[in-house]
């Protein structure tokens, strides 16, 4: 009797696996095949003039170690992410707090605030490049008006200004994304708990730390994770504004990988770079997810 039941369960399980098998196959084909192809290519020697598909060992990975430009671009990426992410998070949170209150034309204002996120990053970069242009841009004209004379601020040329210019564009475009997610999260914070804390005389910080933060943490974590990944892959805005210049001063890992792959046709080497990026991001995401699990 029991073996008959287990046989029925087994056949049901097999049937379920068979049902989901096509979907799993498609996902593997779409997700895994490019990764395998990327890894295989990184062990070959494909460039503009070479098309050697034989196994070349770790030659491209050894090259990574000697490539100063690569590590500099990685450093730029990490620093940029580390600065932009908290700014977007804090500004997004403050905006969300503001919009928790009753405001006139709230829906319209939210829609207006969200506009930059709808724009393609290439367009956002172009807008900011024009805004910051010395000859035609309004920013320098406004600054000149306040300064009471001509100013010469070459935002996309001078090393002192170029990162701030990119940061402004990036924060302008993506803070609303943080705002939207945090607004949704804050709307769901238990109001009774907040009122109880207030009655008990809890400070603003205590209320935030003990009630608000735990309540919004899951959403905030997802928002931070998504933005961190986006920032790590930042390309369009920088490409439009500076193309990684002056020199390689604003070159990020994505820009460098693009240069190697599509301007210099170092296909195998750029595959190695791409694998390095995937590896670093995977390690970071897994570590972050574990931290969240542990904290729960």
């Amino acid at each position: 009797m029991s073996s008959a039941i287990s046989k029925t369960i087994d056949s049901e399980r097999v049937f379920k696996y068979l049902l989901i098998a096509p979907a799993v196959f498609v996902i593997l084909l779409i997700g895994l095949y490019p990764l395998i192809k990327l890894i295989v290519t990184s062990f070959q020697n494909i460039s503009m003039f070479d098309n050697d598909l034989s196994y070349q060992g770790f030659i491209n990975y050894e090259r990574l170690l000697d490539d100063d430009r690569l590590w500099k671009s990685l450093l730029h990426t990490i620093i940029f992410t580390a600065i932009a992410l908290p700014i977007e998070l804090v500004l997004g949170y403050l905006l969300a707090l503001l919009f928790l209150e009753k405001l006139p034309f709230k829906q319209t204002l939210v829609a207006i605030i969200l506009l930059p996120t709808i724009i393609s990053p290439i367009v956002a970069g172009s807008i900011w490049r024009l805004m910051l242009d010395q000859r035609f841009g309004p920013i320098n004209q406004i600054i000149a008006w306040f300064a009471g004379g001509d100013v010469r601020l070459l935002w996309t040329v001078e090393t002192a200004l170029v990162w701030p210019a990119i940061l402004i564009a990036e924060v302008w475009q993506w803070t609303p994304f943080m705002f939207l997610l945090l607004l949704a999260a804050l709307s769901n914070v238990d109001k009774e708990q907040l009122e109880a804390a207030q009655i008990d005389g809890a400070s603003w910080w205590m209320t935030f730390r003990r009630i608000v933060l735990p309540a919004i943490m899951p959403v905030m974590f997802i928002a931070v994770l998504i933005r961190a990944l986006d920032l790590f892959r930042v390309f369009d805005v920088i490409w439009t504004m500076t193309q990684g210049g002056p020199g390689t001063f604003t070159e990020t890992i994505s820009i460098y990988a693009y240069q190697m792959a599509f301007r210099e046709f170092e296909i195998s080497y750029s595959s190695a770079i791409a694998f390095l990026v995937i590896f670093l991001l995977t390690v970071t995401v897994v570590w972050a997810l574990r931290r969240v699990e542990v904290s729960r």
Partner: protein
Amino acid sequence: MAITYFTRRAMMAVYASILALAMAGSASAESAADRAVEAAKKHSGITLNVFYEAGLQPLDPKNFTGPMWEKLTGIKINVIESPIDQMFTKTMQAHRAGSGAYDVLNVLPNQMPDLALAGALEPLDAFVDKYGYREELQLIAPVYRDNQMKVEGTIYGFPDDGDVLILYYRRDLFDDPDNKKAFKAKHGYELAPPKTWKEFSDIGQFITAKYGPKIYGAGMLRQPGNAQFLFQERFRVEGGKFFDADSMKATINSDIAVRIFNEMVAENKWMPPGVEQWGFGEAFSAFLAGDIAMTISWPPVGRWAAGYGKGTEALNWIPETTVADTIGYALPPGGRPELAAGFSLSVASGSKHKEAAYLFIQWMNSEEISLQRVQLPFALRDPFRTSHFSNEDYRSKWPNAGDYLDVLKKGAETGLLDLSLIQIDRYEEALRQGISRLWAGDDPKQILDDMAAQWDKLTERIGVDKQKRVYTDWANKPNAYPN
């Protein structure tokens, strides 16, 4: 009778001779353009994908040659556009993927060796012979014909755009008696289009001091992608060499280059604020607005500033010219202008319609059709055939169009070729990055040393001997270096 018989035979012979001569005459009278059209008719019904730089350039195949070709042959023209800095990448991508995405290619001449060696371009000699085009190819201005057509002796493209960087200046300021007197008193020589970069700087500072900030002495192409052309020209005019011919070590960091970098930075100080960001559009609009007395740029500036093409719908974006009656044309300081960029027409090796693609480019590039194309007010093709410069119709398009064409012709005789090497874009990229660092305020010597190190590293990666062969071949061309 005998006489009659003889006469009849003689008459028959005469008729036969006349007929033969007429037939021969009609064959030789048939132009390269006609031959291309006749041969292309058998491909009627197909579509050719033509790859063009985005912007005004593709208006030629879209609005002019494309419809005309379709009417003549039944072959449709589909234009695919790309920003100029992505054309090489996209051409290579299509080649690598074997997609056959393009049939006709526009190729930057200094990238032709890369594309040809990678197998992306179809050799054209067999087609040229088959369709009798050699004679007309010889009529292309020598500097373009001899330098922008072949790789290692094989034809891979037809030079199709006479790009050259020319000096444009405001004659009203240069001819003003007060200016002439004051300038001579200060510098000891006549105020005239500058022959050297020292004179250029003297004149520029003089005009800025007198008229600034309303009018500046000059405004130049300073965006790194454009400025690198002017640097290449100036460096060679001043005696610089890109490499040591024996060792292939980069000599781009010589004292000459350091001096030029320092001079370029110094010039920016008397040019309009923010000139470091200026590309073609900024310099062009400032010159048309009368905000600058001199600029060095591509040929369209010269004709549009003179008002040519005014009222054309495609040129509505061009600001109203204020210098139409006062524009002057001259060779830039040093007298050896850069043949910056340019285009050659090629056939993609992956094309499924190679013959039809070839016939289209022969037709476009022919004496007859190219003369019409270089006069299209909205297109960007510049005169490149000897006959274009002397064409009376073109020379009468605006009052000093003759001067304009004469200067372009001189430029075509004396112009300096863009550096061409294996993986040239990587060398140029280092140059572009160097110039962007220069504008950011880095030390010129340090920038040039870094650039030289980058070039050496690249050369070693590509192979010193391999690159040396290509460089030597390029350097031995009469228009590679001034002497």
